[in-house]
């Protein structure tokens, strides 16, 4: 489990600084973070519809789903490959309970009823999957969650009455109220930004609350946690429930974004993409998945043009992703954030020695 346990979050941060900001958010005190926040908020002034939705909203959605994996893996030491499946389940439930072109499947509930139902059911689904996964430990988690994800994918393919078989459910209705079409580019961008920010801060906050601290204790030494009075497995299952809710939020946004859901969205490859996003971004802190998602989306969108420009076959996007992922796994235990911090420490080394205790990244 070295990838998760080997690199503990905020290693470069002096503990005193961390404690001084106990009630605030330790990651949110750098100028870079504020700059990023401001840019995200005024994004619609900068970017047009294509960039706003295809790049930034998609990044925020994928990042949120990957955030749920980061929470489980980084704080709980449980690498779950079924987080996209939970998101996909929520997306299917929105389509099944809400309105869509598949009138024989969709129940036609209004969005404000269908969405909470979908969130609830997906959270239950993720919790049950988690309860199954915690029956074993460590590396087995990957296998079981992957098996759950794959089983769901094949099931959606086979099943027509509820999941619409391999064509899925199309033209899913999106919310419109207060005279606003919330799927229009700019409102939808703000919806995704709001949800992503909520999830990001929720994870950040919970990580220092008793629940999150205990989860990190379970990651480091489950036997000792039991000897301190904690029910370790209950804690793990609760972590799956929390993560499932975050993933479900991402799934609802995803189905609103594409207005359709089909087995292709919950394929094994897509499950693994979420792992790649989280690992490439960095699995030890909540900002990692969003960085990973941004890199992933940029590559996916522009790799074709880029590859063709270099005289290569444009269809080799997956190869590029695979090689990039391998490179990150080989050279950094904490994704690109880890690489970046190492580089900063390297370049700032002489300064830092002079002003020890102040120079954190």
């Amino acid at each position: 489990m070295s990838l998760v346990q080997g690199a503990h979050p905020q290693t470069s941060q002096p503990p005193a600084a961390q404690r001084a900001t106990f009630m605030t958010l330790p990651e949110f005190n750098t100028p870079a973070a504020w700059l990023a926040a401001v840019i995200l908020v005024i994004m619609p002034l900068i970017a047009n519809g294509f960039f706003l939705i295809e790049i930034f909203a998609t990044t925020l959605i994928l990042g949120t789903i990957a955030l749920s994996l980061m929470f489980l893996a980084g704080y709980g030491g449980m690498v779950s490959l079924m987080q996209l499946t939970v998101a996909g389940f929520a997306a299917y439930m929105v389509a099944v309970f809400g309105m869509s072109a598949n009138t024989n499947i969709s129940l036609g509930w209004p969005w404000w009823l269908a969405t909470p139902t979908a969130l609830l059911l997906a959270t239950v689904f993720g919790t049950l999957g988690g309860a199954l996964a915690v029956r074993t430990e460590g590396i087995y988690t990957i296998m079981i969650t992957l098996a759950i994800g794959a089983a769901f994918y094949y099931f959606t393919n086979q099943n027509w009455p509820i999941f619409g078989g391999h064509t899925g459910i199309n033209t899913v209705a999106t919310p419109k109220f207060w005279g606003v079409d919330w799927r229009a580019d700019i409102p939808f961008y703000y919806v995704t930004l709001g949800v992503a920010a909520f999830c990001y801060f929720a994870v950040q906050y919970v990580s220092r609350a008793p629940f999150g601290l205990a989860l990190q204790g379970v990651r480091d030494n489950p036997r000792r946690m039991a000897a301190l009075g904690f029910n370790v497995n209950a804690h793990r299952v609760a972590a799956y429930a929390f993560a499932a809710f975050i993933a479900a939020l991402g799934g609802v946004l995803q189905v609103w974004n594409y207005r359709q859901i089909s087995p292709g969205s919950v394929s094994v490859g897509a499950c693994i993409d979420i792992l790649i996003i989280a690992v490439v971004g960095g699995i030890t802190r909540p900002v990692g998945p969003y960085i990973g998602a941004f890199i992933f989306v940029i590559l996916r969108t522009f790799a074709l043009d880029l590859l063709v420009k270099f005289g290569l076959d444009g269809n080799r996007f997956r190869l590029l992703i695979g090689l990039g992922f391998l490179a990150i796994v080989f050279w950094s235990s904490d994704g690109v954030i880890g690489l970046w911090e190492r580089w900063r420490r390297h370049t700032a080394a002489p300064e830092k020695r002079a002003a020890r205790g102040h120079g954190h990244g």
Binding site: G138, I139, A151, G269, R318, L319, V329
Partner: protein, 336 residues
């Protein structure tokens, strides 16, 4: 076995009744009421035989997977890619030389070589970091999948069954009795039976090699306690390479079998990876007999499921996995 019966008499009884019932369904002439209720016996027998032979194929894939995991604690998620690669190599060789057998041999050697390269170039460099190794195998599976898509395209390939194995044979299993009193016997493709027998032979040889030879003892000792094995001065790296080569080679052979039974195409890697995962979760990680038992159970569940409850077939497989995890999380035949 006797210990199991002593410890869990109720489960042993249930298993015994299930096996007896299955045998009766296979051997007896079905009474008319039963045929009305669940359909023709021929359909059922075909599903059972398909299930068992599919189980043989799953066993070939999963035994390599479980062997590699057992010794190196490496969940090789690129195992499906090795299977698919074996299938493509087998196809290319059988087309080029016209020899099915040669396809097997070359596929085994080629995929085993890939396994050796992987072991030496990748896994040896991150020993003991099982999660990181698993991540690497995920990356490799993506790269391999795309390279193979590049080289072979998205087409379906079927490996030609050699002429001496083409055609059905009559089995001494009665499917029905004609009104004249003449028994109708089941006809079943010879090639699938041959593969089934071959899988059994391979399984027994592996079991013997692990349990009766010195090298096998070393490997098993390593499964139980790697540090101890290292401490005895055994060239553990060599053992690792050999086991990885064998496990990969088996996946390669399985690819040729799969290409003959069914077909090979992009996406089959994931399918067989999933099959291996479920088989070893059910049978027990690191256990060869467990892989055999799990493979037959999953093969049967898949085939019977697709005949009798087509839109929920995968659910049966999945429920078996859930049941095993709930009752015996280490798998049916794991020692732990």
């Amino acid at each position: 076995m006797t210990r199991f019966i002593e410890r869990h008499p109720a489960w042993a009884l249930i298993a015994l009744i299930a096996v007896a019932l299955l045998l009766w369904l296979i051997l007896a002439v079905w009474p008319p009421g039963l045929e009305e209720a669940i359909g023709r016996k021929r359909v059922f027998l075909n599903a059972v035989l398909n299930g068992i032979t599919l189980g043989a194929l799953y066993f070939l894939v999963a035994s390599g997977f479980t062997l590699i995991f057992g010794l190196m604690r490496n969940v090789n998620l690129a195992h499906g890619s090795l299977y698919l690669f074996g299938g493509y190599v087998g196809y290319a060789i059988s087309v080029w030389t016209g020899s099915w057998i040669l396809g097997f041999i070359i596929a085994f050697v080629a995929v085993a070589l890939v396994g050796i390269v992987l072991q030496i170039a990748v896994f040896r460099r991150m020993e003991g970091q099982d999660l990181r190794q698993t991540m690497v195998t995920i990356g490799l599976s993506i790269v391999f999948a795309d390279l193979m898509l590049w080289a072979f395209g998205g087409d379906f390939y079927q490996i030609q069954t050699p002429s001496w194995l083409i055609g059905p044979v009559e089995l001494p299993l009665v499917t029905a009795v004609k009104s004249s009193g003449e028994a109708v016997y089941l006809r079943y493709p010879l090639v699938r039976l041959v593969i089934f027998v071959a899988a059994i032979v391979i399984g027994i040889v592996m079991w013997l090699a692990l349990n009766r030879t010195r090298v096998g003892m070393m490997v098993r000792a390593g499964v139980d306690d790697r540090d101890m094995l290292a401490a005895t001065g055994v060239p553990i790296q060599l053992v690792f390479v050999a086991v990885f080569a064998l496990g990969a080679g088996l996946a390669g052979i399985a690819g040729v079998v799969g290409g003959t039974f069914q077909s090979i195409s992009p996406g089959e890697d994931t399918r067989f990876l999933l099959a291996s995962l479920v088989v070893v979760i059910v049978g027990g990680m690191g256990s060869i007999p467990g892989a055999a038992l799990g493979a037959v159970i999953i093969g049967l569940a898949e085939q019977l499921g697709s005949v009798y409850i087509p839109t929920y077939a995968i659910v049966v497989t999945f429920l078996i996995m859930v049941l095993v995890l709930a009752l015996r999380p280490q798998g049916l035949l794991a020692r732990r």
